[in-house]
């Protein structure tokens, strides 16, 4: 444990508050953020490259620690910039020597002031910053919704027994994650992968764990479809017949605790669930977002035809998922 982590968190929270007081977000729009974390060499950069270069129809802002780390070749960057509307920026760190989470706060505030907001911000946490701290600060900001913390773990080289700062940070990243990509599974035996999954579950009992190689993960797992037309998002998905997206509808307004209980007890193969739902304890429908076994309720940006629809991404049999959520929800 290091005092720096705590003080970084506190300093970041204070900086975020100060910056937002001096430069309030110009609109009420909410900026969705995905935080990608993982140790050097685990495949975090591969994932980032996938995210910025896949034609998923989402306007992204990718914030990276060091532009050089992305190492996109020039043609790809040009295409991404022009065709896909990706803006790649280095973490604004006018004070690299102090708060990492302050730098995150500043960058997000800068993006909030853009004339055209991106659909998502993908933020790559560096190998030495405490991901839990960064997540806490990003999540605490006004007008920012931290949708998921994605940890990329190297199945081949993960070793959590070493007593070093790096190991501690990897463990913290895993602990903070909602979605863990157990990457490079093509390099390890199935029994090692299974053993690692158990270790990861112990560290992060609420996370969804996905075995990947080369971080080939469906985009819809990272950017859980917004309550709008995500045909393009799904089209762009990696060929992965392990996953299916199931759309469920609620029969009537539901008690909040009941929905929460359904998520908490869902089978491990349910990776994400998202939807604007009618609840019994409030007039206005709210957005439920669940990754793994964690969920959060927030104000819904959209309504109308999307209210009452729960989109569930899982690798389980569609029937099994539907029956878990029945009778509160039925498959449409």
């Amino acid at each position: 444990m290091r005092a720096f982590d705590t003080l970084d968190f506190l300093m970041g929270a204070v900086e975020a508050e100060t910056i937002q007081r001096l430069r309030p977000p110009p609109s009420d729009a909410v900026l969705p953020v995905v935080l990608v974390t993982g140790f050097l060499g685990a495949g975090k950069t591969t994932l980032m490259r996938r995210l910025v270069s896949t034609n998923h129809g989402l306007k992204l802002a990718a914030v990276v620690n060091d532009m050089a780390n992305l190492n996109l070749d020039a043609a790809l960057v040009a295409q991404a910039g022009a065709d896909l509307g990706v803006q790649t920026l280095a973490l604004a760190n006018g004070c690299v020597c102090c708060s990492r989470s302050g730098a995150v706060a500043r960058t997000l505030t800068d993006i909030q002031a853009w004339a055209a907001l991106p659909d998502y911000v993908v933020l790559e946490a560096s190998g030495v910053a405490d991901p839990a701290t960064l997540a806490g600060v990003a999540h605490g900001m006004s007008g920012v919704r931290l949708e998921a913390v994605v940890a990329v773990v190297d199945a081949d080289r993960l070793d959590l027994k070493a007593n070093s700062d790096a190991t501690r940070l990897v463990a913290r990243g895993i602990g903070a994650a909602d979605l863990i990509l157990l990457n490079k599974t093509d390099l390890v035996t199935r029994s090692r992968a299974a053993a690692l999954e158990q270790v990861l579950l112990d560290l992060a009992p609420k996370a969804a764990i996905l075995r990947t190689s080369h971080c080939a993960v469906p985009m819809s797992l990272i950017f859980a479809g917004e309550s709008r037309d995500d045909a393009q998002l799904l089209d762009a998905d990696v060929e992965d017949d392990r996953f299916a997206t199931l759309e469920l509808r609620q029969r009537r307004a539901l008690p909040r605790q009941q929905v929460a209980a359904l998520i908490a007890s869902a089978p491990a193969e349910v990776y994400r669930a998202k939807g604007v739902l009618r609840l019994t304890d409030t007039e206005v429908p709210e957005l439920l977002q669940a990754v793994g076994r964690r969920w959060a309720w927030t104000a819904a940006d959209t309504g109308g035809e999307f209210v009452g629809r729960l989109v569930v991404i899982s690798s389980a049999d569609a029937g099994a998922v539907a029956s878990h959520f029945a009778p509160s929800f039925f498959a449409s």
């Binding site: 968190f9 300093m11 204070v14 020597c97 030495v128």
Partner: protein
């Protein structure tokens, strides 16, 4: 007639190498008139009304110490945090003793509650380790300390926030709040605990609001200036001015510094990354224009670039063989390959450049940039300063000299962290050779010592920096890179006249000479005379700023 106050002393160390020692120093209108003896000063007596002040007669008078690289505004807001953790810990308020028991934690909070005069001022505490300090805190426990003063605590690994009832009210949380992670007692009442992100988000807002409230900046500057003054500091430089907001910080510094009770001179080095965002191509011109706001006590001074991370956070950049675990440090906001272009306008306009570089890869790059600037537009006496200079190589000191550059060094790490980083991060060779002052001295580079207070959790105490420079003793008593030790005189220069040189103020500060500001540091003993291993223990009686006396107890 103007008064001439003659302070007598056991010894006066002028830091003027030509006339290094005296018995008295004469001051008029806040400036030094003469050093010497009562007898030698006689020729001045016709011009003034002479007053002999003997209060320092048993003390040693030095020029006021200068710490040329601090961050009072940004780190001072954390003066409001109280440490309640189990291990001894250097924190924003200085050294904190660890608290091993639950009773001890509660006693500390009670002590803080009793010490605060404003009943509405909250207690903000950090560092609790539930595993060794009797589990998580809870609301009833904190209410037993106060039911009227808001109390906010966070664990060491900042996962869990615990509030008392008044703080729950400030956070706007009540029994109807339905957020995952806001915990309850068995009977359903809120228990003050906030776990997981959704909940800590709500709980952290009040703390962040307290520590970012209007007025906190002024308080922060005052609080850390007091700590600095007690360590004998009379002048310092804020090295990331404009980090939050230029004009807001200017107003805060004016209010704090220009108050006659403020005991330091403050120089403001503006952060290029912010300035360029506002002034673009006019940035260098702006920094020249803004000099019109300068006074003797508060003045703009140069521009700051940051090109890598920090030493204790292990985010600096290293050359081969790199870090022990293979990670890489950060490079800073400006692209390294663009730095020559970015620095050129400042170089040409004569705005002094302070360039942060902690690791040897960054220092090498900085030297390359300085070399290119020199080729393009040769300058002497440009005072380009490498800030921190923690991990360097002897050949770099040589290059720095050849290019006319200076170094401002954070050498506190040699004592506080060299052993840690031999095992974690930098490896034994580089950790041991942190802060190569001996190499700088051998090559004839002018350098100063600084603390970066309080962003890297080392204290502000120039005599300790001198003690470390002279002895290079680690926490286990071992000597780290004995060949990098320097002599007492050189070390004392680094906190006086050479520090003034680095801030381009050696015409008016840093030594006791006629016409210079009457800024003194008053010591109980003479660092030149005591056993060098006891230099850090020399008592600081107080300081004098422009002729105004500030006892350390004030």
């Amino acid at each position: 007639m103007t008064e001439l106050t003659i302070y007598t002393a056991k010894r006066v160390r002028t830091m003027d190498a030509g006339r290094p020692v005296a018995e008295a120093v004469a001051v008029a209108d806040g400036k030094v008139v003469s050093t010497g003896t009562l007898a030698s000063m006689q020729p001045w007596f016709d011009k003034f009304e002479v007053v002999v002040d003997e209060r320092f007669k048993d003390k040693v008078i030095f020029p006021g110490f200068i710490d040329p690289h601090t961050h009072f505004r940004v780190s001072g807001v954390f003066m409001g945090l109280n440490y309640i953790g189990p291990i001894d810990q250097q924190g924003p308020r200085g050294f904190n003793q660890g608290i091993s028991t639950r009773a001890g934690v509660l006693a500390k909070l009670r002590e803080v509650d009793a010490s605060l005069s404003d009943p509405d001022e909250p207690i903000l505490a950090w560092g609790l380790d539930p595993a060794v300090q009797g589990g998580q805190l809870h609301r009833d426990e904190l209410d037993s300390i106060s039911t009227t003063r808001p109390i906010w605590t966070v664990t060491y690994a900042p996962h869990v926030v615990v509030c008392n009832s008044p703080m729950l009210a400030v956070a706007g949380v009540d029994d109807s709040t339905n957020v995952y992670g806001i915990e309850r007692y068995a009977d359903g009442r809120l228990n003050g605990q906030f776990i997981e992100r959704a909940a800590t988000k709500i709980a952290t807002r009040p703390m962040a609001k307290y520590l970012s409230a209007p007025g906190i900046g002024v308080q922060a500057i005052r609080a850390l200036a007091k700590t600095a003054q007690q360590a004998g500091v009379t002048a310092t430089a804020e090295m990331i001015f404009g980090y939050l907001d230029f004009e807001t910080e200017w107003a805060e510094h004016r209010e704090a510094v220009l108050d006659p009770d403020f005991p330091l001179r403050m120089y403001l080095v503006s952060l290029e990354a912010r300035i360029k965002g506002i002034h673009g191509e006019r940035s260098a011109d702006f920094l020249l224009e803004v000099q019109s706001r300068n006074t003797d006590k508060l003045a703009f001074q140069g521009v700051k670039f940051i090109n890598d991370g920090s030493y204790p956070a292990m985010t600096l950049r290293l050359r081969s063989p790199g870090y022990l675990d293979g990670h890489e440090g950060h490079r800073g906001e400006d692209e390294w390959q663009d730095l020559v272009e970015v620095m050129t306008p400042y170089w040409k306009a004569g705005v002094q450049i302070h360039s942060h570089a902690n690791g040897d890869e960054t220092i090498e790059m900085t030297l390359d940039v300085l070399e290119q600037l020199q080729r393009m537009h040769p300058r002497f006496d440009h005072r380009f300063t490498i800030e921190h200079y923690c991990i360097s190589t002897p050949d770099q000191a040589r290059r720095l000299k050849a290019l006319g550059g200076l170094a401002s060094v954070n050498n506190y790490f040699v004592h506080y962290r060299a052993l840690i980083h031999a095992q974690e991060g930098f490896g034994p060779d580089r950790a041991e050779a942190t802060a190569r002052l001996g190499s700088l001295e051998r090559e004839g580079v002018v350098f100063a010592l600084h603390s970066d207070f309080s962003l890297v959790l080392t204290p502000i105490h120039p005599l300790t920096a001198v003690w470390i420079a002279v002895n290079r003793v680690a926490t286990d008593g071992s000597i780290q890179a004995p060949g990098e030790r320097i002599g007492v005189d050189r070390a004392m220069r680094a906190i006086t006249i050479d520090a003034a040189h680095i801030l381009s103020r050696d015409r008016e500060l840093g030594s006791l000479e006629p016409g210079k500001h009457a800024d003194f540091t008053i010591l109980d003993d003479d660092p030149y005379e005591v056993d060098p291993m006891t230099i850090k223990d020399i008592g600081v009686w107080g300081t004098v700023l422009g002729g105004r006396v500030f006892a350390a107890g004030d």
